[in-house]
Amino acid sequence: MSLRENWRILLLVVVLLASSFALFSPTVGGDSGQGTAAEGPTNLRYGLQLSGGTRIRAPLVGVTAEDVDFGGTQPPEVEQAVAEQLENATVADVTARTYQNAPSAVEVTAGNVTTQELGDALSAAGYSYDSGSLREGVTEQTRQQTVQVLSNKINEAGLQGGTVQQISTSTGDHFILIEVPDENRQRVLELVNQRGSVRVDVYYPTDGGYEQQTVLEREDFQSIGTAQQGQEGQQPNVPVVIKESVAPELQETLVRTGVAKQGGSQCTYAENPNSTDACMLLVVDGEVVNAFGMSSGLASGMRSGEWAQDPRFVLQTRNFSEAREVAINLRAGALPAKLDLGPGGEGTSSYVSPGQGESFKFDSLITGIISVIAVSIVVFIRYGQVRVAAPMVVTALSEVVVLLGFAAGIGYPLDLSVIAGFIAVIGTGVDDLIIIADEVMAQGDVSSHRVFQSRFRKAFWVIGVAAATTIIAMSPLAVLSLGDLQGFAIFTILGVLVGVLLTRPAYGDILRSLMTSR
C-alpha cells in the first residue's frame, strides 16, 4: 500500500478529520453570533424547526414611482405636494428620495394607496415620472432602514438571538425575514406588526374649544430610560431626558398651553375631553394610548424655568406592557414601512414550540439512522461480503460527516429540509458505490492495477453523468427558493459534489486494495 496510490483515501481521511474538528472543536463556531445558538456536544446550529421559535416572512407595504422629475423642488416640498393629492396618505407616509447617480423616486407607505393613485397624484402635483416604473413595494433604502429598525426592536425587546434580514426572489420581489428563537408567534407579531411611531401632543383649551399640538417626537429625546413599574399610586412610565436644544421651547409651550399651570393639571381626557384641564397625550401610531396631566412640583419647575436646566420627564402609560412597548419603540425608532402581514396580507409566519423542535431533532435523527440501517441490510444481503459492503456504508456515512462538518464550519442552521438532503445524499451515494463495486468486481478477479483503473474509469462515467443531472435538477431550488427547500437543494448538491470528487473515488481505492491484494 503505497502512499502515492492511495492518496484519495488519505485525502478523505484528512477531510474527515477537518470535518470532525469543525464539528467538535470548541474553537469553531462557538461565537455567540446572531441567529441560532450552537448547543449540545457539537458545533452544529439548528434552525427554528429543530430548536423552536418564530419565523416571519413578509414584504413591505407601499407603492413606489421611479424616475420622478422634481423640477428643482426640494424633497420635503415634493412630499407635501404629493400628500395633498392623496386621500389616504399624510405627509408622513410620503417619502421623496433623491440620489447622486440615479433618478429620483417617490414612495408612499400608507397601506391603502394603489400604484394608480400614486401616479395620478404625481401628475396632479405636476411631476413627470416613468409610468412603467410604478410598482408595489418600497425603495431599497426603506427596506434597509426597516431591517435596521426591526433589529433594534428585537434587541430592545430582549429577544435573544433574533435576526432580521432582507431576502429577494428571482422574480425581483423583496421580503423581510425575521427569525426569533424560542419566542411565540403572538409576541413577535405584536412587536414587529406596528409601525411604532411615538409622539407627545399637548391638548389644551382655547377660546373656541380644544386644540392639539405635537410637542415631542423621537428625535427630541436625549435618552430613553427603561420602562418602570409605577409605585405608590404612580402609573407605569418611561423616564426620559429631553435634548437641551428642545427643552426651553417645550417648557415655554407647556406653560403657555396650561399644562404646567400653577398647582399642576388634572387630566380627564378619557372621561370628558371637553371639560378637562390641558393634557399631554402619548400618541402611538396615530392613536392616543394615554393622557396625563402634570404634578404641581414639575409644573412649578417649569414655570420658574429651572426645569430646562435639567430636562427630565416621565412618559406615563396605563400599564407596564404599554410602557415597555413605548420604550422599545422610542429607542428602536418607527418602521419606515409596515410588514404586509395578517389576513389578506402577503406574508407568512410559522412557529415551532421548543419542545416540538427538540422532538423533531431527535426523531429525525432516529429516522435517518433507521434509513441507513435499511440501506446497510440490503447492501449486506446483496453482496454477502462484509469487505465490500462495510466500506460502502462507511463511505456513504462519511459523506454525511463531511457535510455536517461543513454546516458546522460555516454555521449553516440545520432544518428538516437539510436533513432530507442528507438522506438524499446517502441514497445517491450508495447508488454510486454499488455501480463502482459491480463494475470493479465484474468478470472475474481484478488482478492488475491497470484493469482496475480502466473499470473504475468506466464506472465513473455513469456516476459523473448522474451527478450532473442531479445537480442540474436541484439547482433551481438552490437559487430560486424562498428558503424552505433551499437547504435541501444546497446540501444535496454539495453532497453530490463531495461524493463525486472525494468519497466515491476513495471507495474505489479501498475496494482496489481489498481486491488486488488477494
Binding site: T169, T171, D173, R185, Q186, G342, P343, G345, E346, T348, S349, S350, Y351, S353, Q356, S359, D363, S364, I366, T367, I370, S371, V372, I373, A374, V375, V378, V379, F380, I381, R382, G384, L416, S417, A420, I423, I426, G427, T428, V430, D431, I434, D438, K458, W461, V462, V465, A466, T469, I472, A473, M474, S475, P476, L477, S481, L482, D484, L485, A489
Partner: protein, 293 residues
C-alpha cells in the same frame, strides 16, 4: 451471509411491443388521471397549504383519539379541513384552507388555547405567497426536467437512447403524481422536492442501462443482465431506505420526510418498470433495427 442475486429475465421471449405496452399503458392511465384531475379541479394535483395559502396547526390534546377529534372539531371556527393524528406524541396536525386561503392564524391559536390544547407548532401561508411558491415550484420542476434532458442528449448524442431516458424519467414523474391523486396526497414543498429527486434517481439506472448496452462490448442480453444486476440493486436499496423512512417519519409526524419518502417510493417503483421494460424495449429496437436504418 447469503447473497441474493438479481434474477435473470429472459427478455427474448417478449417482443418490443409487448414489453413497451405495459409501461406505456400505465403512463396513459396516469396521464388520464392527472389530466382528468386538471380538468375537474384546475390543477394537475391537489395543492396543499404551501401553495393555496392557509394555516396548519399542530396541537397536543389530552384525550383519547375519538374524543380528541370531536373536541378539535368543536373548538375551531372555521373547522379544520383535515385532522391527522401523530401516533408518537398525541398531537394532531390540522390544516385550514378557507376563502382564498386567508386564515387568521392568531385567532386559531387563541381558539386552541381557549379549548385547552397546547400549540406545538403553527404555520401560515398567505394566498398570494402560496401562488408565488406554486409558480416557483412548477418552474423548478420544468427547468430540472429540461436540464436533465439536455445533459442526457449531450452525453449520448444519439436520438433514440436519449429519448428513451427522457420518456422514462417523464413517466417516473407522472406516475407518482397520478398516485398522489389516487391516494389523496397533497402537493407540498416536500413532494416537490421528491419529484425533483426522482429526476436525479431515475436517470441513474437509465443511464447505466444505456451505457452498458451502447458503450460496452458483449451481447445485448448479457449487457442488459449486467446493467440490471447493478441497477436493480441500486433501486431496491433506495426503495427500502425510502419505505423505512416513510414509515418512521409518519409515526413521528415529520411530514416533510414522510411526504418525500412516499413520493419517492412511488417514483422508484415506477422507475423499475420504466427502465427495464420501456427503456429496454426502445434500446433493443434501436440496437437491432434502428441502427440499420
Amino acid at each position: 451471509m447469503v447473497a441474493f442475486e438479481v434474477p435473470e429475465i429472459d427478455y427474448s421471449r417478449y417482443t418490443n411491443r409487448q414489453l413497451a405496452a405495459v409501461p406505456l399503458a400505465v403512463l396513459a392511465v396516469a396521464l388520464v388521471v392527472v389530466g382528468g384531475w386538471y380538468v375537474a379541479t384546475g390543477a394537475p394535483v391537489q395543492p396543499g397549504v404551501d401553495f393555496t395559502g392557509g394555516a396548519e396547526l399542530r396541537v397536543a390534546v389530552d384525550a383519547p383519539d375519538g374524543q380528541a377529534r370531536e373536541q378539535i372539531r368543536s373548538a375551531f371556527s372555521p373547522t379544520p379541513e383535515t385532522i391527522r393524528s401523530v401516533p408518537s406524541d398525541n398531537t394532531y396536525i390540522l390544516t385550514f384552507q378557507t376563502d382564498g386561503g386567508n386564515v387568521d392564524l392568531g385567532a386559531l391559536e387563541q381558539q386552541a388555547r381557549d379549548a385547552g390544547f397546547q400549540v406545538e407548532s403553527s404555520y401560515e401561508v398567505s394566498a398570494s405567497f402560496g401562488a408565488q411558491t406554486q409558480r416557483l415550484a412548477f418552474g423548478g420542476v420544468v427547468f430540472a426536467f429540461l436540464g436533465m434532458s439536455l445533459v442526457v442528449f449531450g452525453m449520448f448524442r444519439t436520438f433514440v437512447p436519449s429519448v428513451a431516458v427522457v420518456i422514462s424519467a417523464f413517466s417516473d414523474i407522472v406516475i407518482p403524481v397520478a398516485l398522489m391523486n389516487v391516494f389523496g396526497i397533497e402537493l407540498s414543498l416536500g413532494t416537490v422536492a421528491a419529484l425533483l429527486m426522482i429526476i436525479g434517481y431515475s436517470v441513474d439506472s437509465d443511464i447505466l442501462l444505456n451505457n452498458h448496452i451502447l458503450r460496452r462490448s458483449g451481447g445485448f442480453y448479457e449487457s442488459v443482465y449486467r446493467a440490471m444486476r447493478t441497477g436493480v440493486t441500486m433501486t431496491l436499496t433506495s426503495l427500502s431506505a425510502m419505505i423505512v423512512m416513510t414509515i418512521v417519519a409518519t409515526l413521528f409526524g415529520i411530514q416533510l420526510l414522510a411526504s418525500i419518502g412516499t413520493v419517492l417510493v412511488f417514483g422508484l417503483a415506477a422507475d423499475l418498470m420504466n427502465t427495464y421494460m420501456l427503456n429496454l424495449s426502445l434500446l433493443r429496437w434501436y440496437k437491432y433495427e434502428g441502427v440499420k436504418r
